[in-house]
Every structure is written in C-alpha cells, then in structure tokens.
Amino acid sequence: MSGPAAEDSAAAPELQALGSCALPIFDHKQIVLGHGSGGKLTAELIDKIFLAAFSNPTLDKLDDQAVLTVNGSRLAFTTDSFVVTPIFFPGGDIGRLAVNGTVNDLAMSGATPLYLSAAFILEEGLAVDDLRRVVESMRAAALEAGVQFVTGDTKVVDRGKGDQIFITTTGLGVVPEGVNISADRARPGDKIILSGYIGDHGMAIMSQRENLEFESTIASDCASLHGLVAAMLDTPGQTSQDFLHCLRDPTRGGVATTLNEIAKRANVGMQIEEDAIPVRDSVKGACEVLGLDALYVANEGKLVAIVAPESADAVLRQMRAHPLGADAAMLGEVVAQHPGMVLMKTGVGGTRVLDVMFGEQLPRIC
C-alpha cells in the first residue's frame, strides 16, 4: 500500500480503526475533470483552495453573483467562463451561451443586467469564419438581453493548447430597491417552482458529442432569463417584492445539485415530487440510452424559484404567462425536517434522497 491511501489512513483515525485499505483517494494531487462538473468535487475545490485564500463575507455567500452596495446603489457583479465542445450545437453556440450564462447569473439576484465584458482565448488555427459566427451570435444575444459589451481582451494560444475558443464574460447589473434574493432565504413552508423542461441543454450537447441520432433533435434551452425574473417580480397582488426568496439557474449539476445547494445554504430540508418535474420524452429517452439522470443534466435557460407560500400560485400563473416559463411547475416545498437533504417522492410512490452529484456523471455498464 502506498501513496494517497497511506496518507489517508494517517489523516483519518476512523479509517485506521477499520484496517488500512487500499482504496480511498480524498485530496487529489491533480485536477481531474470532475472538479469542473459542478458536483461535490467542485464544491471541495472551491472550499479548500479558493475560499481558503479569498474568503470574505460577500464571497462566502456562494451565490451566483455578488451584490455590492456602492454609493447607495446595489450592484450585481458576476463572471463566468465558457468551454464547450462542439462550439455550435442545436439551439445555440458558445457565444450565445457566454452572453446568456452571465446575464442569468445577474438575473438570479433580481438585477437588471446592464454591461458585459468579454475575454477570448483563441486557439491557433481557429477558422475566422467560425469566430465571426460566434461573435455575431454574441451581438444578437446581447441585443436581445439589452446589455452592451463595454470592454474586452483577446489572447491566442498555440495549436493544441486550447480547444478552439474559450470565452469569459463578466457582467454588471443593478438590483432594484426592495428586491432581496439569496439562497440562504429559503424557509420552511416556501414553495419550490421550476420554470420548465429540464435537461435540454446537456442532452443537446451530449447527443452531438456522441453522434447520437434520435427521432427528434434535442435543442439547447439556452436563453436569457432576466425578462422572466422581471415578470415574476411584477406578480400582481403583492404588497412588496419580498415574496421571491431565492432564485438559481440549474446549470452544471442540474436541478438536483441546485436544490441541494439551496437546502444546505439555508439549512432547510426539501420535499419534491418526481411526477411534477417536467422532462421531455426525447430527453428522457436519451438519458435512458446513455444511463444518465435528467435531474443532474445541465440547463441553460431554466430557473428554480423558492417563493413564499401565500404568493406561490400567483407567481406560478405569472411565470406560465411568460414564454420562458410556459411549462413552469410546482415541484414541492421547503421543510424544517432533514436539513440539508432533498427528498423526492417517486412516481411509483416510494421516497428517496436526491443527492448531489459526486463528479462527472458516468454512463453505467448495463
């Protein structure tokens, strides 16, 4: 026995009690793909490396954006990097993703997105026509979202040192007066609402990557959600905008990971119903073929909302009246029991834990 196993035993007395075992790897010596999956490994990386170095009260909230008060104005500030293969896919491309992803991170604080920056890392040999297509797509997406690119940067790396094109966008927005949305505000009794069908983006990418052909093409749901959020904040019959407690867009790691993040952040439990979760037949079928679970598959145009119970029905109606929320559904509610744990009532009437993904979602053997 050698290497990490031996170190692990030394570090953890409970392991020694069970005899030294050749198995565990805990602290990775190298970055593995799972560190970027949005699951437990990502959380571990953020906690042990980034938070350890940068910790401060704003960052420690671990929201998708920072909300900062500057000269009396509340600014939402966020950044995101985009790496995707293939760079063009049904329903979008890396450029549209880079605009919508950052706009959505701002929107999840209730902010009105205003300005973006874009940094490009281009691989030597990238076709200029492809770059032009990506940039045109970014222009169109920014126009739709009502944001402007106001600064940027470009670098080129040797062939083989990048994957065609990587884009980082940073966004700035303004949070309206009276809006207070954060993951730690979920409280028992609140309702959990999802804005539409899950898994479309992840399966669109996956089926392109694996060259899978299904009866109907699965298109990414890539969209800017700030319009939907604004409509939700305008829900009629509300005395204030305080009913919207928490918003998250379930990207990497999917709806399951997002619900767990909120449950842990707010130290509450959640109970949802499997039958209430909207999944397209095409996505369900593709997931089945690949041995994946749609609840862990990425979305790029959906949000999860935690809403005060007395406002939930009105918010749901308001969402359904918006094109990006037409298929919105009430999944369940926040509870005081089993804090940090999400339970799901299954279609056949059983109950199970909806866990966080560990690393990469892997297809099963048979």
Binding site: S2, G3, P4, A5, D8, E14, L15, A17, L18, G19, S20, C21, A22, L23, P24, I25, F26, H28, Q30, I31, V32, L33, G34, K191, E210, Q271, E273, D275, A276, D281, K284, G285, E288, L290, A329, M330, L331, G332, E333, Q337, M341, L343, K345, T346, G347, V348, G349, G350, T351, R352, V353, D355, F358, G359, E360, L362, P363, R364, I365, C366
Partner: protein, 379 residues
Amino acid sequence: MKYLDEYRDGEVAKKIVADIHRITTKPWVLMEVCGGQTHSIVKHGIDHLLPESIDLVHGPGCPVCVTPLEMIDKAHAIARQPDVIFCSFGDMLRVPGSDGDLFTIKSLGGDVRVVYSPIDCLKIARANPDKKIVFFAIGFETTAPANAMLAWQAREQGLKNVALLVSHVLVPPAMAAILGSPYNRVQGFLGPGHVCAIMGYREYEPLSARFKVPIVITGFEPLDILQGTLMTIRQLEEGRAAVENEYSRILDREGNVPARKLVDQVFEIADRKWRGIGNIPESGYILREEFRDYDAEKLFDVMEIDTRESGACISGEILRGIKKPHDCPAFGTACTPQRPLGATMVSAEGACAAYYSYGRHLKQEKSRQGDLVAIGGAA
C-alpha cells in the same frame, strides 16, 4: 413515453403492491441478483412499499463491484503506459485502485477513453495504428457478446493493435455459492433479466430444483421489480420452487442463441476471483487459446500484480445477502462514494452506494415512522 412510462405507472404499482400485501402471510427473504435491480429498487423507493416482513437483500450482480482490486491495479498499470489508449465503460473510471483511479491517470496524461460499445475500439485502433488499444472487458454474461465481438472482429480485420483485459464473471456459480453457504438466508431470487436475455434461463432450472428456491427472471423497471417480487412471494406462499419469467417481453428460455454461440467461440469458462467474495470455481470467462494474442494480461506482463483487499469491509457479506449496508459501522461515515472502503460502495450499482445516494434517509425514518408520508403540498 413508450416502453418507459408504462413500466413506471404509479396506479399499476399501487395494484401490485396491494396484491403483494394481500398474499404475504409469512416473513420471506428475497435477493435481487443484479446491481441494476438494486439501483432501481432504491432509486424508486420500492423497498419502502413492501410489507415489513419482506426482506429484500442485494445480490452480487454488480460488475464493477465484483471486479477484483488486483484487476483494477492491472488496468491502471496498463493505462499508464505511454503507447496505450485505454478504453472502458464509464463507471469503471472512478473505481479507485491502490493508487488513484483512471480519472487521475487521465489527468496525468494517460489516454483513457469512455466507450459506449466495445466495438468503438475497432475504429480507435484503425485511427491510431501506432498505439495499442486496450479494452477493459468486464461484466457478466450481458456484456460478454459485445466484448467477444471485439476480439472476433479484431481478428477478422487483422487488427494487431487491439487487446482485451478480461475480467468476466458468471451469475449461476455465484448463486450456487450463496445458496450452498451455511449462512445463507435467501429463500427466493429475482433473477437477472439482462443476463438471461443473452443466456436464456435453462441453466437456472437445476439450481432452483437442487436448492428448492423460486427464481423469477425479472426486469429492471419499477413495475418489473414489483411484479417479480409478487411472483416470487406467490411461489413461496404456495410452497413451490420453479423458474418463472417475468421479463417475457425481452427473453425466452433459450436466450439469444447467436450471441451465446459467439461467446462460446471466443471465451472459455475458468475459475475467477470475485471482489468481496473470493475465488469461485468455474465462475468466469477467459479468452480461448486461439484469441490469446488479444489478451492484455499477457501482452503487458501484469500477471504478477496481486493486491490484497482490506479484511475490514463487510461487502462480501452484503454481496451474499447476509448483511445490509446499514449494518456496517463505516457506512456513510468512514465509507462514502467519495471515499469507498470496499466493493459495494465503489459503483453506482453497488448496494452501499445505492443506499447512500438514494436511501440514507431510511435509517432515520425508521425511528419516526409516518413523518415522511405526508410529503404532499406539491402541485
């Protein structure tokens, strides 16, 4: 959705569950053989719907779980070689060996690839003539035909740069080992649906007769599992012990004859070591003499690797149905999917990993029955 939602229908499930409750008069211990069935049971919360007197124990049919640690170390030794492209089914990538997993090897520059079908290796071999393509051929009878086809096609196409690291195991010898043990508790089996789709269920008939146990060949959807459970309990309550087929939409007694023939041509039966259980005579496949040029164990000189397992983990008892994951003091504390101590925690289909991912609320629930029944409130 066709062929999916029909087998997850809540209303039909309720009827079968009611039938199970109605006919059950005694306590019975049933084992589902396959990891896929265990996964389905815990994922859909099926064990929760059955009478308390029915004890579902989880069988040895998780291919990732029972692949011996030494075989994983051999795989890693091969995958680290600079001129190798190592191909594997996805869920083997995270299984830790003595020093890291395949993801770690990949992060250090090893060329490790996930394939959906072993046949994909042929294309990779043609595109990379200067590399050796090694496929980690693990699994039960289910994956044997596709794995055999890789060796067969490689020979047909004259591809010299393809090899298989074979760790194939067979279900009936494992069931015989469980039933023959003095500690056996299992009174009836949900038989392995996918394995029988290849092999048919002829070879289960002598087992059922010899040990006087009902064996109901069962599928993997929630309604399959419930129907298989109902059929097994019915046999037990009526004092019968026969092989029955719940999965008749997929298989018959003979199985897939051309697939079986191919397997016979490429593989022969040999003794195999099972992780957590030990050596079982005539319980696996190795490549036949005429395919030995494709045997990665010989080509890469890894025959000497022999890793000893920890004796502390109870996965052997779990795989034989003697204990359950919750019976292990390390479950969910010292042993988790992130830091697995043994076989049944390493794969998503392993009983411990399935309990951890989907069922770890059950232990606390036992102490406050009914609390979770009112899960309502959702639309």
